[in-house]
């Protein structure tokens, strides 16, 4: 029993020494100590020491959530000769000290209960093995925009086979519609051509255009992917990893600021296309409204990151084309972050672009003026007065939003979408381009709004992440799986129906059998089996019930 202070995160609320003492009173606990930081090298050494000295065959660490350090502690136990599944964690931080910061006595009592529950389970733990699987050294990249292509190319150059699936008839994604890319002002089509040309001759990349992913089965190292082309043609691939690079859509602000009501109200995206095609007629005065449909109080609360720079870039391009044209940018907070984007703000100021700050609470109003002009009436938040600006071209900077069909893809892959609609990564800070599901990764605007440079970085990033399992060729898989006691199975087929992964099938004898490598250990089969024929390794009925009884203070048998 190793009880962690976690600095003052636990020790500042829970009386750790008291819990240490209490632990010694529990059955089978032969040794108990406290550590300042059990996860530190010092702490880990102590665990190994304790195992050796006291001949421990079960280890409990009472500290933070298993979601942080369980793998670490498990590995430590294994190094000391104790099977990693004979280890259990008691969460007395997230579930205790942090949640009851102002009630230390109650927190300490609860910590004791939690420890008791852990002991109850630990006594019933059995060693488990993690079977190894082979990893197919090929990847599926869903989405043929700059992110998808970059990832595909990088993986291909590392020697892996890549299936690049794109739903449109040609590659390129958003880049096809963009004019110039900041900050280098390279032509988007030039950048696009370069990478498409690099992709074409690459023997490791198989491009499937006009194709969508229909079904994905399997698990890391062995995904079975079914795709379908627009013309009906289908195909199946076996891949080791999957990369989601499906990009994003541009929000259409129907009903806002006269969009679709007046002809001369367009989106920033439309302006980009007009500039690209050389079709922008000389406007006398352009007014751009930032945060249209973004950073709202409810709904699209997020900032779409790229609109401020796009507006600045396009404002400068308009000024270059038509030097006498006035450009106004109405904004809330100018997102000119990073190494050089602030300089774009300065450049725009230099060229006489006018900036007006407005506040969320008092957005601008647009009314029709004379001769087809519009009047934008905005409360200048920093001058404290209403300002009227006449304009004959209103440009609305709208956010990037998730594709309509992303929901379907998220269900196909069983990966989540976050509260803002974009794909949700495994860990916001330290695993930003991994999904929680092993073997699936995400990059580009499918993850969140970002510009081309940032998409390329993420795409190269996933090329590294995906390469790891494919490079080592063999992986250890989950030990926490279901197993059927055939002698008890009545062949009712309930488990087969409810398994979300199709991991249980009836064999030729009509008895349920689990494909361990597909099984994710969710336990829903075990909970539904009327004959109690299914055992969930490491989460057996006995273990779970023992914890419940221990929670309620009933003696553990």
């Amino acid at each position: 029993m190793f009880i962690c202070h976690c600095g003052i995160n636990i020790g500042g609320v829970v009386n750790v020494p008291e819990v240490v003492k209490y632990a010694m009173t529990l059955p089978n606990v032969v040794y108990s100590e406290d550590n300042l930081y059990t996860c530190s090298s010092e702490g880990l050494s102590k665990i190994k020491e304790g195992i050796g000295k006291y001949n421990l065959n079960r280890v409990i660490v009472a500290s933070c959530t298993p979601r942080t350090h369980e793998p670490l502690f498990r590995a430590t136990c294994e190094e000391a000769g104790v099977n990693r599944y004979l280890f259990e964690m008691a969460n007395i931080r997230e579930h205790c000290s942090w949640a009851h910061m102002h009630e230390p006595e109650k927190a300490t009592e609860k910590a004791k209960d939690i420890v008791r529950m852990a002991v109850a389970k630990a006594r019933l733990l059995k060693p488990q093995e993690e079977p190894e699987i082979e990893v197919v050294p090929s990847a599926l990249v869903i989405g043929g925009g700059i992110s998808g292509m970059t990832a595909a190319l990088c993986l291909a150059d590392q020697g892996f086979k890549v299936y690049l699936v794109e739903k449109e008839p040609e590659l390129g994604g958003m880049l096809r519609h963009l004019h110039k890319l900041y900050p280098t002002m390279v032509d988007a089509s030039e950048g696009l051509n370069n990478i498409v040309e690099a992709l074409k001759p690459n023997k490791n990349i198989e491009v499937w255009a006009s194709t969508v992913v229909k079904q994905v089965k399997g698990f890391i190292g062995n995904f079975d992917v079914s795709v379908q082309r627009k013309n009906g043609e289908t195909a199946n691939f076996r891949v080791g990893t999957i990369i989601v690079a499906t990009g994003a859509d541009v929000f259409e602000p129907v009903g806002m600021y006269g969009y679709k009501k007046y002809d001369n109200v367009i989106t920033q995206f439309k302006l980009e296309q007009l500039l690209k095609g050389g079709q922008l007629e000389k406007p006398e005065r352009v007014v751009m409204i930032q945060c249209t449909g973004a950073r709202e109080e409810k709904g699209r609360t997020y900032c779409s990151r790229i609109c401020c720079m796009t507006a600045l870039k396009n404002a400068l391009l308009v000024k270059e084309l038509y030097p006498e044209t006035d450009v106004y940018i109405l904004f809330r907070d100018l997102q000119t972050y990073g190494r050089e984007y602030e300089e774009w703000h300065r450049m725009a100021q230099d060229r006489g672009v006018k900036f007006v700050t407005y506040a969320l609470e008092k957005p601008p109003e647009v009314v029709a003026g004379h001769d087809g002009k519009l009047t934008v009436d905005v409360y200048h938040a920093l001058l404290g007065e209403q300002v009227q600006i006449e304009s004959n071209l209103l440009v609305l900077s709208t956010p990037l939003v998730q594709h309509e069909d992303a929901k379907e893809l998220s269900q196909t892959l069983k990966v989540p979408l976050g509260p803002d609609g974009f794909f949700f990564e495994a860990h916001v800070k330290l695993r930003p381009i991994d999904f929680a599901t092993d073997g699936i990764f995400v990059c580009g605007t499918a993850h969140s709004p970002k510009d081309t440079a940032e998409s390329v970085s993420q795409a190269l990033g996933v090329a590294s992440r995906a390469a790891i399992p494919m490079a080592v060729k063999r992986l250890r898989t989950e030990a926490i799986t279901a197993i059927v006691d055939e002698s008890l199975c009545s062949g009712c087929g309930t488990c087969v129906k409810i398994c979300p992964y199709g991991a249980i099938q009836k064999d030729e004898k009509g008895v349920a059998r689990v494909t361990a490598v597909v099984c994710k250990g969710c336990g829903t089969c075990g909970a539904s089996c009327p004959e109690k024929a299914i055992t969930m390794r490491h989460f057996t009925d006995e273990q779970v019930i023992a914890q419940a009884l221990a929670a309620l203070g009933r003696a553990v048998a």
């Binding site: 300065r346 100021q349 230099d350 007006v356 200048h380 920093l382 300002v387």
Partner: protein, 530 residues
């Protein structure tokens, strides 16, 4: 040479105007050169009226009032006497001749006397040269307002404003008057609402102290922008806001006339040595004039140039000096009168060149900045180096040529004036000069060097309750250091502070009044030269 002098006369309503009437009624003739202006009392005659009259070309000014003791308003005429004495001194300094201003007592019944005075005065003036001044009082504003503004916006980085408000948060005036915000002023210009600002008082409120510039992340040089816009702004508004009735600025303007030959060396102490040509020239500044205008403050301002000359002589320097030294033009430049500023600049530079001086030293931070920076900007690089007296003294101390003979055991606190400090970056030489004096303990105010606070007024503008608040706050800070003496290198700082402490104070005088001294005067004391 036969010219007809123009005389402007101010006649008091009760006595002298009636006296003049009587002359007419009695058919007594006198030369038609006088133009009379009726005022209720001779005490009404503002020195500024007289100066304006001369500036606009009057050859003589006559002020008449009741005989002493008879003043309808008790003693207005005595006040007039004192004031006109003062103005005469100014006229003397300017070389126009104090005799151009006459003050006479004329009673209701003295019609004859009035005619006599006018006849005599006219004759006297006929014998003198005509008044060389014929200037327009108000400078002409350029027509291309938009152009001037957009040039100024680019030159002073105003376009880069981030609207962060740091300027207003630093501005000593904004802190006490939150209707004034440099940021909002800038934003108005950027959005095209500049006309509102040009016709308002905001442009004249800026102290041009450069605190905002010092801290602005976008390097917006707001005071320079203000200065450029003042050219375009309403002169009427400016005149209303100009303290001391615009007299100091009028004097600067008068000096632009090439015919002005001043008599301004009377302050030189006995035995002072100076030359017509020397390597080092001492640029005195307007102290002889301020000494007259601010007579009542008893600041002994002439001690400053006297100390400087004594110090220079002691270390073996016989400085060159300009006997007709013109005002450097600082106040004209900062109130938007570029034409007249340029005239002064060119004259001064030419005169300095004549002396062959390679170094020019001045004890006034405003002259220092103007000569060193603004003249260079206007005329290109100068043939001479410009130093502040503290820089020269510091140099001499380093070389071992300046020795302090007297111990002055006291605690001294030093004010960094805006022009010497933030404008020109001279922080350490004055401190070194002071600290070397034996016995001196040099204290520092919390807000010192680049964070020092302005003395509250610039170019005589917008001296109001807000400036007073700034001044009192700063003096309290100085007093709170526990120092016995407040030393400044800028005569204007001293004048402004003396002004506020001479009034009825809203705070306990104990917390505010301090003995003040100019740096040069202190140094002269320590060298046993006073």
């Amino acid at each position: 040479m036969a010219y007809e002098p123009k005389i402007v006369a101010f006649l008091c309503n009760w006595c002298s105007y009636a006296g003049a009437d009587l002359a007419g009624t009695s058919r007594i003739s006198y030369p038609p050169n006088v133009r009379a202006i009726r005022v209720m009392c001779s005490g009404r005659v503002d020195p500024a009226f007289v100066i304006t009259a001369f500036e606009t070309g009057a050859d003589g000014v006559l002020v008449t009032g009741c005989h002493p003791g008879d003043c309808h308003y008790v003693s207005g005429n005595l006040k007039a006497e004192k004031r006109m004495k003062n103005v005469r001194k100014l006229l003397g300094l300017l070389g126009l001749g104090p005799e151009r201003l006459r003050l006479e007592w004329v009673s209701t019944s003295e019609g004859g006397k009035f005619a006599e005075v006018v006849t005599d005065f006219t004759e006297q003036l006929r014998k003198m040269a005509p008044n060389p001044l014929k200037a327009e009082v108000n400078p002409r504003a350029p027509k291309n307002t938009k152009d001037v503004i957009s040039k100024a916006v680019k030159k002073t980085n105003v376009q880069y404003c981030l609207e962060c408000g740091k300027c207003s948060g630093s501005c000593p005036i904004s802190k006490v008057n939150d209707a004034y915000s440099p940021r909002r002023t800038v934003e108005r210009f950027l959005l095209g609402f500049g006309d509102r600002v040009l016709s308002g008082t905001d442009l004249w409120t800026c102290l041009t102290c450069f605190t905002c510039t010092e801290r602005c992340p976008s390097d917006v040089r707001y005071p320079e922008f203000v200065r450029a816009c003042r050219r375009l702004a309403s002169r009427e508004v400016m005149e209303e806001l100009c303290a001391h009735r615009g007299i100091p600025i009028a004097l600067s303007r008068i000096m632009t006339n090439p015919s002005i030959k001043q008599e301004r060396m009377a302050w030189l102490p006995n035995g002072a040595e100076f030359s017509q040509r020397d390597d080092l020239l001492y640029f005195v500044g307007c102290l002889p004039y301020f000494d007259v205008v601010f007579e009542d403050f008893n600041l002994e301002l002439l001690k400053i140039p006297q100390s400087v000359v004594k110090i220079l002589n002691k270390v073996g320097i016989k400085p060159a000096m300009l006997s007709n030294e013109k005002c450097c033009g600082h106040d004209l430049l900062w109130t938007g009168d570029l034409e007249n500023f340029e005239r002064l600049a060119r004259t001064n530079v030419a005169e300095i060149k004549e002396t062959g001086a390679t170094r020019v030293v001045t004890a006034c931070p405003e002259c220092y900045r103007t000569l060193k920076k603004d003249y260079t900007e206007l005329l290109g690089s100068l043939d001479f180096e410009v130093l502040h007296i503290s820089e020269l003294l510091s140099e001499l101390i380093d070389k071992g040529e300046l020795k302090y003979d007297v111990k002055l055991p006291m605690k001294v606190v030093y004010q960094d004036s805006c022009r010497l400090g933030r404008h020109m970056g001279v922080y350490e030489p004055p401190r070194k000069t002071i600290a070397e004096i034996p016995g001196i303990e040099l204290m520092e105010m919390g807000r010192n060097r680049e964070n020092a606070v302005c003395c509250g007024v610039n170019a005589w503008l917008s001296c109001n309750k807000y400036s007073k608040a700034v001044q009192i706050d700063r003096l309290m800070e100085a007093k709170a250091t526990g120092a016995d003496l407040l030393v400044t290198a800028c005569p204007k700082c001293q004048i402004h502070w003396k002004c506020v402490t001479s009034e009825k104070l809203p705070v306990n005088p104990e917390e505010v009044t301090m003995e003040m001294r100019d740096l040069s005067v202190l140094v002269a004391e320590a060298m046993h030269l006073t």
